[in-house]
């Protein structure tokens, strides 16, 4: 019996467009359990990033209810959202988003600073995470001294550092070649097997297959998919 970690009920997101509102998410219902590896698969413009922003507490829905880790996210202010992100979410982006002036270790330490870990704790955790993603010999390298795949692994270490409730990845292999992408996906599988809950957003069905559950996003509507079909 697995535990329910997030629940979206009738989430609607609209953007004002001239006189009318442009409805991007048209009533999303979604439940994710602890330990799941979920892919959200959808074509460009279907609203994947919009959904991810709400899932990641970067944005709030126009209407509907979003419960994350027993907490209602729908109507929180920026400060509260920042605290929730710090505790609950580990982001992995398509373009890595590492700070170029910082070393790999310092990049991994960033979320720990905002989660108010002490200096020595930060150092220990960052090193542990970099070892976990196989970069024990690249701790002091800057992003421009690392390959794309290595950079994405630094980003994964960073996402893992605060031990968040969910890992949220938006097209994590979008900037990588096939074999490097495959390595990253294997890392995801490993992390999931260790118990991490992962939500991955992608338009690529071969990547989506690494998950153990797929939902299809089409024109702002979510339908349950089948891993075997994808």
């Amino acid at each position: 019996m697995s535990k329910e970690i997030l629940k979206m009920t009738n989430i609607i997101k609209t953007y004002p467009m001239g006189d009318e509102d442009h409805v991007v998410l048209k009533g999303i219902d979604l439940i994710v359990n602890e330990g799941e590896f979920l892919s959200v698969l959808g074509p460009s413009g279907s609203g994947k990033s919009t959904l991810m922003n709400i899932l990641g507490c970067l944005d709030t829905p126009t209407s509907g209810e979003y419960i994350l880790h027993n907490k209602n996210i729908s109507n929180q202010n920026q400060k509260e959202l920042a605290r929730i992100r710090s505790k609950e979410i580990g982001f992995i982006f398509q373009s890595f988003h590492l700070l170029p002036r910082l070393s790999a270790r310092e990049n991994v330490e960033l979320p720990l600073i905002y989660a108010k870990f002490s200096k020595s704790e930060r150092k220990n955790i960052a090193e542990e995470m970099l070892v976990k993603v196989g970069l024990e010999d690249k701790m002091n390298h800057r992003p421009n001294q690392l390959s794309g795949g290595q950079q994405q692994r630094v980003a994964i270490a960073r996402a893992l550092s605060t031990n968040p409730t969910i890992l949220l990845a938006d097209e994590p292999t979008g900037s990588l070649d096939q074999s490097t992408g495959k390595q990253v996906m294997n890392l995801f599988t490993e992390l999931n097997q260790e118990g991490h809950t992962i939500i991955m957003i992608t338009h690529d069905s071969t990547i989506a297959k690494y998950a153990n559950r797929i939902v299809n996003l089409l024109d702002g509507m979510l339908t349950e998919g089948d891993v075997a079909d994808a």
Partner: protein, 396 residues
């Protein structure tokens, strides 16, 4: 958290060395100019005040040119001046330059000052050894002299001058006292501080006879209570007008207290002018900082978005940028203070004035620059803190 924020801010300044330097240049120049000007002006004024203090306030100098019919003040005029209420004493100034002879040694260009007993009473710690001139010396036109250290050095070569004789202007004097070194002895000497090889003070009555003078053209009047200065000056004016039949330009009254007042006024005027200049230059510097911070926020939009996604609260983004701007302007302030002090040190030395450190000016410079950092960093920092993380992350 604060330490990390400070470290991040510092890193960013170091990463943009050239730009940071150009940005703080305005503040550097502003602070340096203010520090240098305050230090130099204050030094000049301190120096002048010190000279005035040496002479002693509460003195009025009267230059009595007189009229073609009557040159200078006679004894009864001086007595009338001395009888004015609140006047402690009247001391004539009579000075000429001459030659002193001791045995075979001749010393040219010495100053001979004729003074009375009042002079010694109203001038603090004048004679270091020997005695002052007294009223008996005046009345009997005694041929006694007080010499200064320079004359002793130039003429006595280690011999104790007390009790020795010296020939001044052809007249033999007995030395009864030695002056302290480095004494600004009266206002006139200060204004016309010519180079002389030494000084001899003799009874003014003796001096008048030697110079063939009947009247005195310059006296110092000491006032008992400076609160009555203006009344005393009015009385002096009355006495002099009567003495010279109300003739224009027959006399001139110079009182030290009003000079000091005028100088204080000048100082406060200078200070407010400086404050104005400082305010303008710091405003310009502040705008420079604000500009750099706004550029920096725009450049780092995606970094701000990322930090927010990773859990940074708006508050910590704001403090990061605010600290960075305070850092920048404080750095400018520190460099400005160092530059300003160096400048004023060099200038002080060049014009031969003692260099004094003005902690007030330094504190002012540093405080001002910190405030500039806060005031002009506020808006950019606020802007950064309000950035929407979604928009910020997209802008890559």
């Amino acid at each position: 958290m604060l330490r990390e924020t400070i470290k991040m801010s510092w890193q960013n300044i170091v990463n943009n060395k050239m730009r940071s330097f150009l940005t703080i240049l305005g503040i550097v120049i502003g602070v340096a100019a203010v520090i240098a000007l305050i230090t130099i002006i204050q030094g000049v004024i301190d120096e002048l005040n010190q000279q005035f203090l040496d002479i002693g306030t509460g003195k009025v100098n009267v230059q009595a040119y007189g009229t073609p019919l009557k040159r200078g003040l006679n004894n009864s005029d001086i007595e009338r001046l001395a009888e004015i209420e609140n006047v402690a004493g009247v001391s004539p100034n009579l000075s000429f330059s001459s030659t002193a002879v001791k045995d075979e040694n001749v010393l040219e260009d010495i100053t001979v000052d004729g003074k009375n007993e009042v002079y010694f009473r109203t001038t603090k710690e004048l004679v270091s050894r020997g005695r002052n001139l007294n009223i008996l010396d005046m009345d009997s036109k005694n041929k006694v002299a007080i010499v200064d250290g320079e004359l002793v050095e130039n003429l006595f070569f280690g011999i104790d001058p007390l009790g020795e004789t010296i020939i001044v202007d052809g007249t033999t004097f007995i030395i009864v006292g030695v002056l302290k070194k480095d004494l600004h002895d009266d206002m006139i000497a200060m204004v016309s501080a010519g180079d002389s090889n030494g000084k001899v003070i003799i009874p003014y009555t003796t001096a008048m006879t030697m110079a063939g003078l009947g009247n005195i053209t310059s006296v110092d009047i000491t006032v008992k209570d400076t609160n009555y200065m203006s009344q005393v000056i009015d009385e002096i004016e009355l006495v002099l007008n009567q003495a010279f039949n109300f003739k224009d330009d027959s006399f001139f009254i110079l009182d030290l207290d009003s000079l000091v007042d005028a100088m204080e006024k000048m100082q406060s005027m200078m200070t407010s002018m400086l404050t104005g200049i400082a305010a303008i230059s710091l405003l310009v510097g502040g705008i420079g900082i604000m500009n750099m911070m706004l550029v920096s926020v725009t450049e780092r939009t995606s970094e701000i978005g990322l930090r927010k996604a990773l859990g940074a609260e708006p508050k910590s983004i704001q403090s990061q940028f605010l600290i960075e701007s305070i850092f920048l302007s404080l750095l400018g302030g520190i460099i400005g203070v160092i530059l300003g002090l160096t400048l004023s040190y060099v200038v002080s030395n060049a014009i031969g004035m003692p260099f004094r450190l003005h902690l007030g000016a330094i504190a002012l410079g540093l405080n001002f620059s910190a405030i500039i950092g806060i005031v002009f960093g506020w808006a950019p920092a606020r802007k950064a803190s309000l950035l929407n993380p979604i928009d910020a992350l997209r802008s890559v």
